[in-house]
Subunit: 119 residues, 2 copies
DNA sequence: CGATGACATCGATAACTGTCAATATCGACG
DNA sequence: CGTCGATATTGACAGTTATCGATGTCATCG
């Protein structure tokens, strides 16, 4: 049984917070949102996220992602795992290859939480 | 009312990136954006940012911020410094008190970069 | 001037993070 | 079955970070 992370991931709880500038975030809310930002707060992971999210079909193969960086394969695998465990990337194994898919609604929610100022 | 930090801060360069999901972020872009996210990627700093941004007048006194946390004064001062150096908070000393003001346009740009999916 | 109070800086420490080489896992294929 | 190629995991190491107590700075007030 592949552990597909059906547990509560941080990403599930972000949608319920009003924007930063609207009212003070509670400690609980902050504790939920911070891991998501932490997962994104790395140049390599930002590029990985962007590569996957902007890729045709909304998904990308690890084999392609590895080539985009001057880093070792385990390092890329580690960063993908971080993004996956934060709930920002979905993981699917097809044959020998593994495909990651961006959870765009997670990005949308995060963007709204951070950037929205009026509603 | 001297403007501290008129130097280039990371926040100045975020507006020029198209959203994550639009096209792959370049390494340079990622290197510019990541520090901003890193500054926000901490529960205490998220709450600080939210407290200041949502405060009446758009600014808040350190004396008020300290009381909102169960942390030492140097620790809060440290987190405020991180947010300030990232370009997310402006700092102004008035008499004995120091006021921090949120750079809402920075938050808006960040939010757009992360969350925008269509344009 | 000396005291007080608000905030910043310093120095230390424990915990966390990014990276790699080595190794494991696991499908596909002959 | 045995090999190969694609990813993941492990273990180790260097660099970073969150936190605190102690101390410094600086404006205000008596």
């Amino acid at each position: 049984m592949s552990k597909s992370l059906t547990l509560l991931s941080p990403v599930d709880t972000v949608a319920c917070c009003s924007p930063l500038s609207r009212q003070p975030l509670s400690q609980q809310q902050a504790d939920q949102v911070a891991p998501l930002l932490k997962a994104l707060a790395d140049p390599v992971r930002l590029r990985l996220m962007s590569l996957v999210a902007s890729h045709v079909g909304g998904e990308a193969c690890v084999c392609d992602l590895n080539d985009a960086f001057d880093l070792s394969q385990p390092t890329i695998s580690h960063h993908l795992k971080v993004l996956h465990e934060a709930g920002l990337l979905d993981r699917e194994k097809r044959g020998v290859w593994v495909y990651y898919r961006a959870r765009t609604e997670a990005l949308t929610n995060l963007g709204t939480l951070i950037g929205e100022t009026s509603a």
